[in-house]
């Protein structure tokens, strides 16, 4: 059975695929930043509570307060790319999701547990004592499991040649464990989360009014150490991933495709710069270089997807039934919504003489 015969026929799209690709990359980028921060600070908090109890309480209290709404924004910002990927690659992701349906659907329950556990960690931070580590462990382990399921799905959707396994296992219990890139890809994301989580905490402490206090400086240093260690490890894991990729895909990053090669080069440069800035404790610059690096990684990831699906599909094959009015509706609401959000933030954080009355 040729894999191509299993790929469902796609539906028409309402605007040129470029628009959808733009929103996919943009929202995924934002989601990835949030996801990395969320998972990273969770891992750091768990590690600190287990292995570095001295002086970790205030650090973890900070994480404890931020983790719940980081989860909320990660989920929210994940909805958009999940929507756009369905529009562009629905025939692949619906299928791969279905092949691993049991795990894919379980994400809902796992996430609820992780989320409530994060709130429990927050609300019982002082009352639960060391037991609060259990809540953080539950949150982190569940988030790691979700990440693993996502890595499986995102690789399986790119591998129609593995889909025929469905016929011997149609119950939605397939994972993509035979995929050579699965583990390095997953580890790459986890390390990225730890690095960004460290950077996120460095920014948190840096933005404190008392950022120059010694405790803050120590926290910034600790946070950046997490960033540096994880990022250095990425060189190994990243290389592993790269080598595990099919030859024709590797080639696009090695000059075969100008844009892909440029993203790769720029990403490497950003990584090196972020390491240098991180080492020098230049938090904002480190953050800037990291943002650049992650953007390059997102674009590389997209190039990888395009290359993997190239034998079967390209976005140019999608038919368009133009509905640009609906795009305009979205853009208008995006503008109004953004303005409202800015307005709300201003309202919430302006100086209020009336407070307390």
């Amino acid at each position: 059975m040729h894999p191509a015969t299993l790929i469902p026929a796609p539906d028409t799209i309402p605007v040129h695929w470029g628009w959808l690709k733009f929103f996919l990359i943009l929202t995924f980028y934002l989601h990835l930043l949030l996801m990395n921060s969320m998972l990273g600070i969770g891992i750091i908090a768990l590690f600190k509570s287990l292995f570095d109890r001295s002086g970790s309480k205030e650090y973890n209290r900070e994480i404890s307060a931020k983790l719940p709404y980081t989860i909320a924004f990660t989920v929210n910002m994940g909805v958009a790319p999940l929507l756009f990927i369905q529009v562009l690659y629905g025939q692949f992701i619906y299928t791969s999701s279905l092949l691993m349906a049991v795990y894919w659907l379980s994400i809902t329950a796992i996430l609820i547990i992780a989320y409530y556990s994060a709130y429990l960690h927050h609300y019982t931070f002082d009352s639960a004592g060391p037991a609060r580590s259990v809540f953080m462990a539950i949150t982190v382990i569940n988030l790691l499991v979700i990440g693993f399921f996502f890595s499986n799905n995102m690789t399986m959707m790119l591998s129609p040649e593995t889909w025929a396994r469905y016929f011997s296992s149609p119950g939605g219990t397939l994972l993509n464990l035979g995929e050579p890139t699965l583990i390095p890809r997953y580890l790459h994301f986890i390390l990225s989360a730890v690095a960004v989580g460290g950077l996120f905490m460095a920014l948190v402490w840096k933005l404190k009014p008392h950022a120059h206090a010694s405790a803050c400086r120590e926290n910034i240093k600790q946070s950046l150490n997490w960033f540096l260690m994880a990022t250095l490890m990425q060189f190994g894991v990243g290389t592993w991933w790269l080598l595990a990729l099919p030859r024709h895909v590797v080639r696009i990053f090695m000059g075969g495709n100008t844009w892909a090669t440029a993203f790769f080069g720029l990403g490497l440069l950003g990584t090196i710069l972020s390491l240098i800035f991180g080492y020098k404790a230049r938090v904002r610059r480190c953050a800037g270089a990291t943002l650049l690096t992650i953007l390059c990684m997102v674009l590389m990831r997209d190039a990888l997807r395009t290359a993997m699906l190239e034998p079967y599909f390209s976005l140019g094959m999608l038919e368009i039934d133009p509905q640009y009015g609906s795009l305009l509706l979205f853009l208008v609401f995006l503008g109004l919504g953004s303005a409202a959000i800015v307005y709300m933030l201003k309202l919430a954080f302006r100086n209020n003489p009336e407070v307390g009355s």
Binding site: L6, P8, A80, S97, Y166, P170, M344, S357
Partner: protein
């Protein structure tokens, strides 16, 4: 057919959707109404300068945040995951059509999250007006989320002009969008009150608790009229077919509709309790009862909306099997296996039929059906089907009962699917027919000595094939009701048909003399027929022995409506009870002639093949309680009757009480289809592709059945039912055309809609006929009594009146056709499996051969001399062709 199907067993059938969707939707509506509740309650606190109320708002906000943001938000994503796994095809349509609608909703979701976090975390930290603005903005974002999702959800129910234009705006602003929005908005406020109870009820101070509970109860009471009115508006804009589905056409909706209407007073009572100063414990209980009742109410509403779309996921666009409208013809032609991407077997073969059936089941059924699960369990729903019944169900599915889509596949695929369900899932290998030990009955023709006999007595049963039901405590299709006829001929060169001066007595064989010991008809006769009938007595008052009456028109004696049953007094099955007739001189009582005949009657009706799992109880081909009840339940469900409960109360009905038919003294209701038209018309929709099996499925005519009632010469020369009666479609359509002609247009056309005649190309070319009057005419084939040039009767050529039927027809000399040729379906020479010549008693008695009376030059039987003229009918002196 585009995507693989997640093979769910127990948890299929929408179970996952119900679990995830209902709880999410419940919380999500609260997330909207609760936002307004928060900000208005906060304003109330400021207005009344009441710190307690403000504290309540703050604590309620935390509860609100933890419930709506975490549980509500994640289960909302969970619904996306779920629908894309259960129906990627429909999900893909929703996503591709409304991608920017969803994206806009995502912006609102983002605004909602930020507003709520700020509202919660900045409580008491910013000025009142700013805080209230955040509250209002939260509500606006939340309501806008509802606005966008509502439009897309209702698109699935009423896509409106989108079906033609494919325009985003036509799809979004669809016909039910606005009423649904009003309803859901009111519902949001209503639920805000319910959730308000849950937090307010825990206030320790009674005064504050009562005050807030009273306040919350107003959130239930005020939106209620809006909910009721907008629900009616919502319903009014739905297409007729959807309305009909909701009003009971779909059996799965009825309980939800009852809950949807019936729970409203419950809410009012609970709201009232909350306004009374009852003990705190009562308030807590009432609050949680209210919470759970709200969940049930939400579930009922969503269930109605979901199931109202049947047989579609997106009305008029995507069937619940994920087949899109427009793909049907290719599926019927090429089949599911050739059209679907995710199958291994591309054709059905003898070797793979069960595996192929499983793949077909997965693709065509698993979208809605679980296997052994709590919702739409295929095992429970098909428990009563035999292989034939399962095939018939698949064939008729989606035609009359439209809550399921038609089975869109080839005949082979239908067979494979039926086989998988019956043999694969149920592991049944049931017999296809009622089996019966065919104990040979000794055939003893009375002695006839042509040298001295003065009379010839010819007798017959007017029905050569006759079915009856024997589960009278639930219902009756046909009471014990057989009739026999006789003509007495005074022999001579010019014989005479005796019309008077004699008595002819009949008596059933003694083994069949006590039918009341075998069937319950007489126990329930009053309910069934409206009058009390003594035991072992027929509908006309005749018993199983007595004198025959003379009919001047027929010039024949008759004993009508005799209570003959196919059971001997010892309970054994015998579908051919014998009667003995004696003709005596009216004055002297001298025995003039005697003969015997069989009166065919059988309880071998095939109902159980579809309604009772083809079970055979006690070795008799009878109708067991399960089958009888199932039939009533199906009738009740489809026709909104209460026959089953009536029967359970000891008031069973005779079908003819409503549906006109035999017996003629039960008139029926004139607005109803005749029993024959209703039965054939309904079942032809299911059994239309079964060929002759469609006839033998219900009538006791199968050559491998318990009765073998089709046993005459036509069976011998391998004709089938269809040679005379045509296909079940033609048979039914002509009856329905007759009913339509009689003014029952709507009911007849409903059954005709999906029936195509194999004989004519349009319904208006079907000649109407009436049951028990318009029948096949022998002379259609035997033109001028000559050997037929065809063995297939032409369509639209029925007898015009009941008296033109073979059973009532008379030859040129006054002898009735049956007198010489035997009963219908047992035309001489018949071959009866219970005794080869059991139906040929008189030919054997008078001629020593099983051929028609007087055939092969046996005119001497009556005339005492050889005859040269064909007095009775043309061609009667020819040599009988079909000799043994």
């Amino acid at each position: 057919m585009n995507y693989p199907v997640w093979e769910l067993y127990f948890s299929g059938g929408g179970f996952l959707m119900v679990v995830i969707a209902v709880v999410h939707v419940y919380v999500a509506h609260f997330a909207v109404g609760g936002g307004l509740f928060l900000v208005l309650t906060e304003m109330k606190a400021y207005r009344e300068n009441n710190g307690d109320i403000l504290a309540y708002v703050k604590s309620h906000t935390r509860f609100f945040l933890l419930l709506t943001m975490v549980f509500g938000g994640i289960t909302g994503v969970g619904i996306w995951f779920t629908i894309s796994l259960l129906s990627p095809t429909a999900t893909s349509t929703l996503v591709h059509t409304f991608v920017f609608g969803w994206a806009t909703e995502w912006v609102c979701f983002l605004g909602e999250i930020i507003a709520l976090f700020l509202y919660y975390y900045r409580f008491d930290k910013i000025d009142r007006s700013s805080h209230l603005i955040l509250g209002w903005l939260y509500f606006i974002f939340a309501w806008l989320s509802l606005f966008f999702i509502n439009g897309i959800i209702d698109f699935m129910l009423t896509p409106g002009d989108w079906l033609q234009t494919k325009s985003f705006w036509d799809g979004f602003f669809n016909p039910s969008m606005l009423p649904a929005l009003v309803f859901r908005t009111a519902l949001c406020l209503f639920l805000a009150g319910i959730f308000g109870f849950v937090t307010a009820v825990f206030f320790a101070r009674p005064h504050l608790r009562n005050k807030m509970l009273g306040y919350c109860s107003r959130w239930l009471i005020f939106p209620l009229p809006v909910m009721v009115l907008s629900a009616l508006w919502y319903f009014a804009v739905l297409p007729d077919a959807v309305q009909s589905m909701i009003l009971g056409h779909s059996p799965e909706i009825a309980p939800a509709v009852a809950l949807f209407g019936g729970l409203l007073p419950v809410f009012l009572i609970l709201a009232l309790i909350m306004r009374l100063k009852v003990p705190a414990r009562v308030q807590v209980v009432a609050a949680f009862v209210c919470l759970m009742t709200g969940l049930v109410y939400m579930g009922a509403f969503e269930w109605i909306r979901e199931a109202g779309r049947r047989p579609y996921l997106i009305y008029g666009h995507t069937y619940s099997t994920s087949v899109r409208v427009g793909e049907e013809a290719a599926l019927y032609k090429d089949g599911i296996l050739k059209s679907a991407r995710w199958v291994q077997h591309r054709t059905v073969t003898l070797e793979n039929e069960q595996k192929a059936g499983q793949e077909i089941f997965r693709i065509a059924c698993m979208g809605c059906h679980s296997i052994g699960g709590p919702i739409n369990d295929i095992l429970a729903l098909t428990a009563d089907y035999s292989m034939m019944g399962m095939q018939a169900q698949l064939n008729g599915q989606g035609k009359l009962l439209t809550y399921m889509p038609p089975f869109m596949g080839t005949g082979d695929e239908r067979w494979a699917l039926a086989r998988y369900i019956v043999r694969g899932l149920h592991n049944r290998q049931e017999p296809t027919r009622d089996t019966q030990e065919l104990n040979e009955i000794p055939v003893e023709a009375p002695v006839f000595d042509p040298a001295i006999a003065q009379y010839v007595l010819l007798a017959w049963s007017d029905k050569g094939m006759h079915g009856m039901t024997d589960n009278d405590r639930f219902w009756s299709f046909q009471p014990p009701d057989s009739s026999i006829y006789a003509q007495l001929i005074l022999r001579g060169e010019t014989p005479e048909i005796v019309t008077g001066g004699v008595t002819i007595a009949y008596a059933v064989e003694k083994d069949h003399a006590v039918p009341s010991s075998q069937v319950d008809f007489w126990t329930y006769a009053k309910a069934l027929t409206g009058r009390t009938i003594p035991a072992d007595t027929g509908l006309s008052g005749n018993t199983l022995s007595g004198p025959m009456q003379f009919d001047d028109n027929l010039m024949a004696f008759h004993a009508e409506h005799l209570p003959v049953v196919p059971y001997r007094n010892d309970g054994s099955f015998n579908p051919y009870p014998r009667f003995k007739l004696e003709a005596r001189d009216g004055d002297t009582g001298e025995l003039l002639a005697q003969t015997s005949l069989v009166t065919p009657v059988s309880t071998e009706m095939g109902c159980k093949k579809c309604h009772g799992n083809a079970r055979q109880i006690d070795g008799r081909p009878n109708m067991d309680d399960h089958t009888a009840k199932n039939i009533l339940a199906v009738h009740d469900r489809i026709n909104k009757t209460d026959l089953l409960s009536s029967a359970r109360k000891g008031q069973p009905l005779l079908c003819q009480t409503c549906h006109p038919g035999n017996p003629p003294d039960v008139k029926g209701k004139s607005e109803h289809l005749s029993l024959s038209a209703a039965m054939h018309g309904f079942h032809a929709n299911y059994m239309g592709d079964l060929g002759d099996d469609a006839c033998t499925a219900c009538h006791p005519s199968a050559s491998d059945g318990a009765t073998h009632a089709f046993r005459g010469i036509h069976h011998e020369i391998e004709l089938t039912c269809a040679n005379c009666h045509l296909s079940i479609q033609d048979h039914a359509l002509s009856l329905l055309a007759g009913e339509k002609h009689a003014g029952k247009k709507t009911r007849a056309e409903a059954l005709m809609k999906h029936l195509a005649s194999p004989s004519v190309d349009a319904h208006d070319r079907i000649a109407p006929r009436t049951a028990w009057a318009g029948q096949p005419d022998c002379l259609n084939c035997h033109v001028e009594f000559e050997p037929p040039e065809t063995d297939q009767v032409e369509y639209n050529t029925w007898t015009q009146t009941a008296d033109q039927r073979y059973s009532r027809r008379t030859g040129d000399a006054g002898l009735m056709c049956m007198a010489c040729h035997g009963a219908t379906h047992a035309i001489y020479p018949a071959r009866n499996p219970y005794g080869e010549d059991l139906d040929n008693l008189q030919p054997l008695q008078y001629q020593g051969a099983p051929y028609p009376i007087g055939s092969n030059g046996e005119c001497r039987v009556c005339h005492t001399i050889d005859m040269e003229d064909e007095i009775h009918h043309p061609n009667m002196l020819g040599e009988f062709r079909n000799t043994r």
